[in-house]
Symmetry: C2
Subunit: 341 residues, 2 copies
């Protein structure tokens, strides 16, 4: 087999073969400027014969744009990121720009990787728990359109968030109404604007309780936000006196706790109530009480803002806050149908 890596044909190869100049080839491809029919035919012939595909690099360099957008995730694990990307791609619609994605993933060189990405795209979505506001500002200053997602707004960038506070407060109130007093909040708020907001919302509900003195809140951190982290934290929690309810920062942590509970023959919700956040697909089947977050819509909204900003049709900077919704299922012990999980 021939192992030379064939050098792709360039516009000059096509020009030579069609016996015209590169300018004419370019005109044929882009439909800019007039080209005589026979000339066009010759060029098209040469293009197909050489299987010519114009180099994105050359085009982008000349046009001064990439026709691609970037997204920076904290981690690619779990349904959250998938839904956001999906929403993004759907919204981009017909004029599809490819999506370039990276995860910072607790990796060190986050800043340089984001800056590298910034130099490959026409616009950037940056999620929470990835890089500091300083880095985002740095990118904004470079003139690149930026939309932040699920993090505190940064001056000069548009922002999309999901209403954490109100639903968290509703969740807290609901748990109180149903008699829960000894509460564990599971998940590391440090560095996660979303979780910080949620815990603040819960806090607000507790402070408005009729019997604030009876309430006992403990914060427990987990090593990440995936099922495995939840299971590990769950095992630790179940080893000592059980609280009334574990309020997990997201569904995956909650599902991990649920697994640990089942392994330990602890009944949910009778022995221990449990709630999550996000309403991922598994939550429905696990019977998990949670807060539904419009994940797909978050991605789509970010995409739309970005497109508008790139097109230059947006003035000032915009902040969209999408509504969330409390979803009561069996795991918090307040479901009409009752039953153990």
């Amino acid at each position: 087999m021939d192992d030379r890596r064939a050098r792709p044909a360039t516009i000059y190869d096509v020009a030579r073969r069609a016996e015209v100049s590169s300018a004419t080839v370019s005109r044929v491809m882009r439909g800019t400027g007039p080209v005589a029919a026979p000339t066009r035919a010759k060029v098209l012939g040469a293009m197909t014969e050489l299987a010519f595909v114009p180099s994105r690099l050359g085009v982008s360099l000349a046009e001064g744009r990439h026709v691609a957008n970037g997204i920076v995730f904290p981690s690619l694990s779990g349904p959250y990121f998938a839904e956001v990307v999906l929403g993004y791609e759907e919204a981009a619609g017909a004029a599809q720009r490819p999506v370039i994605l990276i995860s910072t993933n607790g990796r060190t060189a986050a800043r340089s990787r984001v800056l590298d990405l910034a130099s490959r795209v026409d616009g950037l979505v940056v999620l929470g728990r990835t890089v500091t506001d300083e880095v985002v500002t740095e990118v904004v200053r470079s003139g690149l359109p930026v939309v932040t997602l699920a993090r505190r707004p940064v001056p000069g960038a548009d922002s999309v968030t999901a209403g954490n506070r109100a639903s968290a407060q509703a969740l807290g109130r609901h748990l109180l109404d149903h008699g829960h007093r000894r509460i564990v909040r599971l998940g590391d708020a440090a560095g996660s604007p979303d979780v910080t907001e949620r815990w603040a919302g819960v806090q607000a509900a507790l402070e408005a309780a009729p019997d604030p003195g009876a309430i006992d809140v403990t914060d427990v951190t987990a090593d990440g936000f995936d099922v495995e982290a939840g299971r590990a934290a769950g095992r630790r929690l179940l080893a000592s006196a059980l609280p009334d309810v574990v309020v997990a920062a997201n569904d995956e942590l909650a599902l991990g706790v649920l697994e640990a509970a089942q392994d330990a023959a602890v009944r949910v919700p009778d022995d221990l109530a449990l709630t999550g956040w996000d309403d991922v697909m598994a939550a429905r089947w696990a019977g998990l009480t949670t807060v539904r977050q419009p994940m797909r819509e978050l991605g789509a909204t970010a995409a739309r803002l970005l497109e508008a900003r790139i097109a230059g049709t947006l003035a000032g900077s915009r902040a969209e806050d999408l509504p969330t919704e409390l979803v009561i299922r069996a795991s918090c012990g307040c479901d009409d149908r009752g039953g153990q999980l």
Copy 2:
């Protein structure tokens, strides 16, 4: 606010500011060739003052490589794609290349979008149900390293697959052993190499049955492979005489059928048995019998093959087939613990 989009600094801006030539700036950045300490200091100073980030376009054009890899998915919905991407990124490891992804999503211009992507990356992973083998071959001919995933191998490209056939046969045997005879296969095999293989495996099991005459297989197509498609198909199925078991092409279709069954008060598995494929997170909680596919490992393996191919350390072309595993839960009616879902 200043709304001019600041033009990013170029290497020439830095050179001018540091009173050196662009060549020297380049040497400082890349550590190629000698630079006097004071000169280096001046250059570094100018770089930070101007917040200089070298243009990826310029670098790539000069280096002749992109430092990015591409992935072509049929659709970005569902856990499958997310796990594959995650596996990919994990395997890429320290030298992280950003991942550029597109979904063909039943969109028309699939070919041109893939060719565009091909001209942005150093290597490409192409999944099944995206573009024809001809298009893949076209890309291979252009000299780009290509790995196919979950599709028939294409000459010149490496290939990664998950053992569909053997597990499908095991699944078929299992269902037969437990008395199921009237079988519906749900999901469109046309255009999906994976599903085609699975159905062939099931077929093989049925043909080896002791009473082939008693077996009644019906193929039902769904409009896609997501939960919604499954629910719609489920409603249609439940409207007429129930088969013994619905074998769905993937978990999401199966979960959709399960939803439809619950809505119609049809008991699973007593009135209707049900199986899926993939073992997504929700499958565990839904009690779905399924076949576990090492989704993450599929992505990781593809990434490793691609890296090796790009590095040129691989001769010939390689085909990896990863093992799958039958996971028995309650939905097929053969679980020890029994119970309805």
